[in-house]
Amino acid sequence: MCKNKNKDLRSTWIWQGIKPVKLGICVLEGPYQHEASDTAYNFAVAALEKGHEIFRVFFYHDGVNNATRLMVPPQDDRHIQKRWSELAEQHNLDLVVCVAAAQRRGILDEEEMKRHGKDANNIAPGFRISGLGQLIEAEIQCDRVVFFGD
């Protein structure tokens, strides 16, 4: 799955001598509270601009809180969730939120909402909830995985 992503970008860069690699990113801290999410985002943007493939961004620990569509930051500040969602849409990124970590912290999609009998969900577009196996798979499939946390 998720192969041949960012293919257009990669093909334009290959002639410049940059060897595209398959990258994984793991985000362990929530938005605004800690810089980790900003660093991870800026790293992801730079990697895509260089023509690398981002196989997956995995959100774990408080990192799952990046995925709530309910955040309303001040107008003159960055919108961390929207930035991730937009980047995912532009580059067909796979943004995976760990289900166990998400449950603890109240990040739910519609299916999780129903399963647990909750009356609302809050996951943002472009994020999907899945298991920790997705992180292990990223470690197996990717050339490099970079962790951002506290």
Binding site: V21, L28, F147
Partner: protein, 100 residues
Amino acid sequence: MGMLHTVNKSPYQCNTLESCLNHVGEGDVVLLIEDGVYAAMKGGRAADVLSAVQGVKVCVLSADVKARGLEGKLIDGVEVVDYAGFVDLVTETDKTQAWL
């Protein structure tokens, strides 16, 4: 190709940099990011530690240096890289260890 080590804590608050430097090997790269960049500021106690490191390349992330007002205040011998340079360091080394 050595390893890339990222350090994101201030050396005045946490022992992260110290622990990282205790485990680096010849040819490794240490990249200071987030509050980790304070280690590279000229005149600070931590700068002595960093200057004494042998056989390891030390880089700092420019966005974090500028955000903290440290531009032009860094010790000699550290290389300033932008996010694109961060990506290059990741791809040019064997693997990355985050010293969280």
